[in-house]
Amino acid sequence: MITSLLLALACNGGKVPPAQAGVVDAGLPPTPAELLAQQAPGAAAEPLAPTDAGYAVYRALSVRDPEPTCAEVEALSPTPVETLREVVDRAQQPPWAGMRAANCLVQGHGAEVQADLVAWVGGADTRGLALLVLDQLDLLPEDVALAVATAALAGPHAADASARVPKSRHPALQALVP
């Protein structure tokens, strides 16, 4: 009997085959702001217009499902770390675009962006980014994780950090919370 292995091509609970999950549109839509302008005439404001690479990465990270991979979105920029930083810092909606960009920085560039991570866990208005980092400490190099956790425990999100740092597999981090 012949066996056929095929991929279903509709979103099933957000879990989709890799062939489809990899689809991103690197090209910019013709005039994205026009659609919004139709809904709220005169409301368009672009104080922090994105770079082309930033906008391409932003669009890829904005999809509801299928979800993109970091490798796919980073391939859209010649300087992925800078572009991901741009999306984290400047993209306002949807909220998950910046969070996914931050996620890619944590998961793939922890050592390079250590200062950003320390700033996030220490910022009063960056609790979401702080939680994202604190939930993934074990994906960071241990020395980076130690520096980030130490800063978090001394910052405005110390209560959040106290609940999460002990879950690390690294004894040095566990020891930070007696």
Binding site: L7, L9, P32, A33, A43, P50, T69, N103, R127
Partner: protein, 366 residues
């Protein structure tokens, strides 16, 4: 990953006789919803599940086995074939029940108005049973049938059981954000005759959640469900990060107590970098809840992002290409992504008549 494993020789197998019922049918009633539970042995790789209809409007079959299962065909009481898996295996999606993706499968019937009404008599659902290598095999299939007796398919209530993962209900930012988003969800559904009856629970389940069905916690969670409600689990992260911010167990989702009987949503991904919910965040979060539960009720994206796969509905534009699709469907609740311009996003709160009809035919919409 969603995979469809099909033996190509499937169509050559002969049809056999009536179903091999293993034991008595257990029947329970809960208002307009009847539940029947029984087991069937497959023969030549097919389990034939009889569905006795006497005035019910829709039924949902959840078939579970130790082997891989998928719906292959539905026959009406006259023996007419009304669904064949291969017809929904191309570039239009009608139901995830035909996809061989696990050890359970969920069918809601009818899906659309054009699928007709349930005539009285014995309907039969053929469930294919396949081993991990893709060959037909025989096994016992446990069937749970839910049957809805509710003649009004334009006005319905969906019960949502919103369960917070460990400690999240006590986080005021999270609980206030979720409740505001649920209010937006109700606002989106209201014009389409869909009401939400939401209840909230705290739990000790992990704040980092696996995909539906891939954690023992999901089976535990399902055991406490009433059988007529959709469970939405509010997590902090899914699969350890931010890749996913909302996932439905299947399309459609089951009303039975299986491990895929839930929608998982990340509050953190929906709150964003500041970890709080702005008005825009709340609106999008509410639309995400309505979108994911829409999948659970049987709705597909009207078009996938490859722009060459569509749902099975006639009144969702069969658009082609990004600009065409964003222009024609960008405000549709089930569009695959929000149409945004860096600082804000279009409201996505529209459903077509066809989509509304699918939602009302979901057996859990009472």
């Amino acid at each position: 990953m969603t995979r469809l494993l099909r033996p190509l020789a499937l169509a050559a197998l002969p049809l056999l006789g009536a179903c091999d019922l293993l034991d008595d049918v257990l029947s329970e009633f809960d208002g307009d919803l009847e539940t029947r539970s029984f087991s069937v042995d497959s023969s030549d790789g097919k389990a034939r599940v009889d569905v006795e209809i006497d005035g019910q409007e829709t039924f949902q079959l959840t078939a579970t086995s130790g082997q891989l299962v998928a719906v292959e065909a539905i026959y009406d009481p006259d023996g007419e074939l009304v669904l064949y898996w291969e017809d929904w295996y191309g570039n239009e999606s009608l139901t995830g029940a035909v996809w061989l993706e696990g050890r359970d499968t969920v069918l809601n019937w009818p899906v659309r108005s054009v699928d007709g009404e349930l005539s009285a008599g014995t309907w039969q659902v053929e469930v294919g049973v396949v081993d991990n290598e893709g060959y037909y095999t025989d096994a016992t299939v446990d069937a749970v049938l839910k049957l809805k007796q509710d003649p009004d398919l334009s006005d319905g209530v969906v019960k949502a059981r919103i369960v917070y993962a460990d400690g999240l209900m006590q986080d005021e930012v999270v609980s206030a954000g979720v409740q505001a988003a649920v209010a937006r969800w109700e606002e989106v559904w209201g014009p389409y005759g869909l009401s939400l009856d939401a209840g909230y629970e705290s739990s000790a389940y992990s704040t980092d959640q696996a995909f539906p069905g891939e954690s023992g916690e999901h089976e535990d969670l399902a055991q406490d469900a009433s059988g007529s409600e959709v469970t939405v689990l509010i997590a902090e992260t899914i699969d350890g990060g931010m890749d996913y911010y909302g996932i439905a167990g299947s399309i459609p989702g089951t009303l039975d107590h299986t491990g895929r009987a839930l929608v998982v949503v990340s509050w953190l991904a929906n709150a964003g970098g500041d970890g709080s919910f702005s008005d825009d965040d709340v609106r999008l979060f509410g639309e995400t809840l309505a979108h994911e539960v829409g999948h659970y009720m049987g709705l597909f994206h009207p078009v996938e992002m490859t722009w060459d796969y569509w749902d099975a509905l006639d009144d969702t534009d069969a658009c082609q290409g990004q600009g065409d699709c964003e222009g024609g469907l960008g405000d549709n609740l089930m569009f695959p992504y929000p149409v945004c311009d860096w600082t804000s996003c279009l409201a996505q709160d529209q459903l077509t008549d066809g989509q509304t009809g699918v939602s009302h035919r979901y057996t859990g919409t009472l």
